[in-house]
Assembly symmetry: C2
Homo-oligomer: 372 residues x 2
């Protein structure tokens, strides 16, 4: 193979330079602080685990998504985590299985994907989020979504939109009021994704036709869904959605696409995606799901996770730097005091160092900072 040019990085891996690296750290900090204020305690799982264990935790694409590590020490194949949520589920089900529920956990760190997506060219992404283990009630969903909105607002996102979906609606209806041959469930879901009314009718699934037209702004979608007579399963979900909307008190625009399932393969009754003004693509997602314990027991949970990369790209988390030039011979006590007052001091090491060359915004005049 040809020699790699100096400084070249593998596809999808990159350096964050100033001021972007600091913006990333500041955003992570504000999101973690926001989540901590709701009593969520931070956990920090390792960057890599046994491939076998990690695949077991991931409920969707799983194995194909993993970057594998050869580990001569364990003589096993390890894999880098493509997601932290599943690791938090593992912790809740093992080392923290004995803790009182609901268990509130938060996390923030790097994940590594095997492949970039069209939307995100990076394979290393910064993920942060919170998981509420032991409840998937409307109260749980309201707390998780309020926190997600708080965290996005703390990060500087405005005009937040939440797209809600009911991931298990079709299988639930198929097992109840709108019976479907189990072999047809996936086909009906696929045609609902396509909003293809003709194909749904051709499948003999006419009862599902009203769902095609129910996606949209919350009020409209709710009205259309309420008109569908499908008994308790649907009504309780709609009541849940109404309760969540109430709890959010107009802090976000809410839409409902009841049958959207892309990326919600492992969610149960509720899934959601988060968007912001002038930001390309989804900022985060979450919903209700099930954690499996080693003894086979299942436990409900609810959570959200954010990817910080789109926020950083949008210029959030950046703060004007006030850099104060400290000339050669300045008393170190003065520089100490200025730092303790919040200044970033930049000291000259030789006579050749200048305030301008060192990218300073302020200089010392008679021992006091003045703008340059």
């Amino acid at each position: 193979m040809s020699k790699i040019p100096p400084g070249l990085l593998p596809e999808g891996l990159r350096d964050r330079l100033p001021p972007e690296a600091e913006a990333a750290a500041r955003l992570l900090r504000s999101i973690m602080d926001s989540v901590a204020s709701y009593g969520y305690e931070r956990v920090s799982p390792p960057l890599a685990e046994f491939e076998e264990g990690l695949v077991g935790q991931l409920k969707s694409d799983g194995a194909q998504d993993l970057l594998r590590i050869i580990d001569p020490v364990s003589r096993r194949t390890l894999a880098l985590r493509p997601d932290i949520t599943a690791q938090v589920g593992r912790i809740a089900a093992t080392r923290m299985a004995g803790r009182t529920r609901p268990l509130r956990l938060a996390y923030g760190g790097e994940v590594l994907k095997l492949r970039a997506t069209q939307l995100r060219p990076e394979r290393q992404l910064l993920q942060a989020g919170a998981e509420l283990v032991g409840s998937d009630s409307v109260a749980a969903a309201s707390e998780i979504l309020s926190m997600a909105v708080d965290a996005l607002e703390a990060a500087g996102v405005t005009d937040i939109t939440i797209d809600l979906t009911l991931p298990d609606l079709v299988p639930t209806l198929a097992a109840g009021p709108f019976p479907l041959d189990p072999g047809l469930v996936d086909s009906v879901r696929a045609e609902l994704d396509e909003k293809d009314a003709g194909a749904i009718a051709a499948l003999g699934a006419d009862a599902y036709l009203p769902l095609v037209h129910a996606a949209g702004p919350l009020d409209m979608a709710m009205e259309r869904m309420r008109a569908i007579d499908a008994g308790g399963a649907l009504q309780s979900r709609l009541d849940g959605i109404a309760g969540i909307a109430d709890a959010l008190q107009g802090r976000a625009t809410i839409t409902l696409d009841p049958t959207e399932r892309h990326g919600f393969e492992y969610q149960s009754w509720l899934g959601f995606s988060l968007f912001g003004a002038d930001m390309a693509g989804e900022l985060g997602r979450g919903g209700s799901y099930t954690i499996c314990h080693a003894d086979g027991a299942e436990e409900v949970a609810m959570g959200f996770s954010l990817y910080l990369d789109p926020l950083i790209d949008a210029g959030l988390g950046w703060k004007e730097k006030k850099r104060l030039f400290v000339p050669l011979g300045t008393e170190s006590d003065l520089a100490d005091r200025l730092r303790s007052e919040g200044w970033r001091t930049v000291a000259a090491l030789t006579d050749a160092d200048t305030a301008d060359g060192l990218d300073c915004t302020h200089q010392l005049i008679n021992g006091e900072p003045e703008p340059l």
Copy 2:
């Protein structure tokens, strides 16, 4: 191979649980804030790079230390970084080569080692530090060591000790005042490490004998070193050490072992290790070194890095949690206000949730927080 029990992690990789994960984040935050106050700008290189590139950057053990990743996308072998310093050097020499010097860069993040050491059972470690690129003067060393002391103090370390060494002293003396056959330099260094005066004499390197007894507290070591008549190279180094000690103004205990070289294989005139009261092992290290640019040019630099794991193990960064129980039915405005005042609220989701079960320290009495 046998099945891996649920929750088992590979050797040397572990979960940080509450409150340790938060302590780690708090320590990293305080160290990065401290370094930023000196005008060091954060960079964040990726967790993995091309193996070939990463080995080129590492000046010591290098390749044997790496955990390798199979990357089907680049069709190259990648490696996980065992250290961030070398990556920062790469950034300084490539993407930030055009920036005015001195260039002040800071970093903090996870590194992954192939093997644990006797002192540290972890293979994933949290590293933070700062690099000053373009100078290795006494002023540069003084700034780097003052920052290291500040950062350790900010993290809560007391009674800091700095062990100084002069890594290139023997080769410098051998090329000048105390000529040595180039084939003997390594042997003399090895015997100096062993403090074996007899072996040094047997090598015919009598001029080096006084160095055996020069290690110790700074004043004593300096006095003994000053008595060695070895011309400018030694004197300028001793003057440098004296200047650094002056700049630190008694903020740390300083020792000097002029020929200690273990772990300083790539340092030039100055190396140092950092220690704290009641903390096992070294907390960090650093010194002066050389960065190689793509065009063959060399550039001097000076830096330090800390490992946060011993600080976390010592219980630093932990903060008493005040968790306020918020009963069912509490107005969300009240909870919002309490969070904005700095409280961590823990909301009841059902009547079964209790302040005690949710590990709260405070409850609401007439809308005001009271200790439980």
